[in-house]
């Protein structure tokens, strides 16, 4: 049996990298769940609870898991660096989606208060 080369990938490496990215996507999900709990209270305190963007809050909770699953699927036949690159792109898109959700929630609140 030949010795393993230093740069050779082990099967477990991909799982370790996926686990690390899962933690990051998990943080995004926790943040979205916090928003799902807190934002309706904020809207209610401003008297605009009817305008609470439930669709946006629920989509924000689901999106990190969807993006993580997509990145696993897209990178399934790639080498470790490729898998990590795809997962990093997915994490970056998740971050962009969080910022977009924040902007939309702000605009919805402003429109409700102004109307």
């Amino acid at each position: 049996m030949s010795a393993r080369q230093p740069h050779e990938e082990r099967p477990g490496d991909a799982w370790i990298v996926a686990l690390l990215f899962a933690l990051a996507f998990g943080y995004d999900t926790v943040e979205a769940v916090t928003n799902l709990q807190q934002l309706p209270l904020l809207y209610a305190s401003a008297g605009i609870e009817a305008s609470t963007p439930w669709w946006l809050l629920i989509a924000s909770v689901a999106l990190p898991a969807v993006l993580f699953a997509l990145s696993l699927w897209i990178g399934r036949r790639m080498r470790l660096v490729g898998k990590a690159g795809v997962m990093l792109v997915a994490l970056a898109v998740s971050a962009q989606a969080s910022l977009l959700a924040e902007q939309l929630a702000r605009q919805i609140a402003v429109a409700a208060l102004g109307g």
Partner: protein
Amino acid sequence: MSRDDDALRWEGDEDLDLEPSADDGDRARSGAAAPAAREARPRGPLGWLALVLALAATVGWIVVMFANPVQQPSLLGLVMYQLGELLAVIAPLLWWWCVDRLAPLERRAPWWIAGLVVTAPWPLVAGVLA
């Protein structure tokens, strides 16, 4: 010289810091360390156009960051939020680069176009339309 003796001497250690050459024996032939970066991957005009648009999207996200300063209640929250902002800013270029390096040549164009749509600075667009 035994391994223990060798460990106590400096001679020859400089060679350990050198980058391995391409014809460095079994490792290069194994394919495990074959660098994708050395493959010929012509980009063509669409690739360069996609890069310019990705750069423009990055600038758009930087504008979004500066237009919406946010305060966080904790240091961890602030660090994570700023990390998210950094990721959001580099996302267009990161997408472009990953497609350039990883996608098969014939599938790069649709992936680049998809990246431009997905990573466009949508908060900026939403703010302008509001």
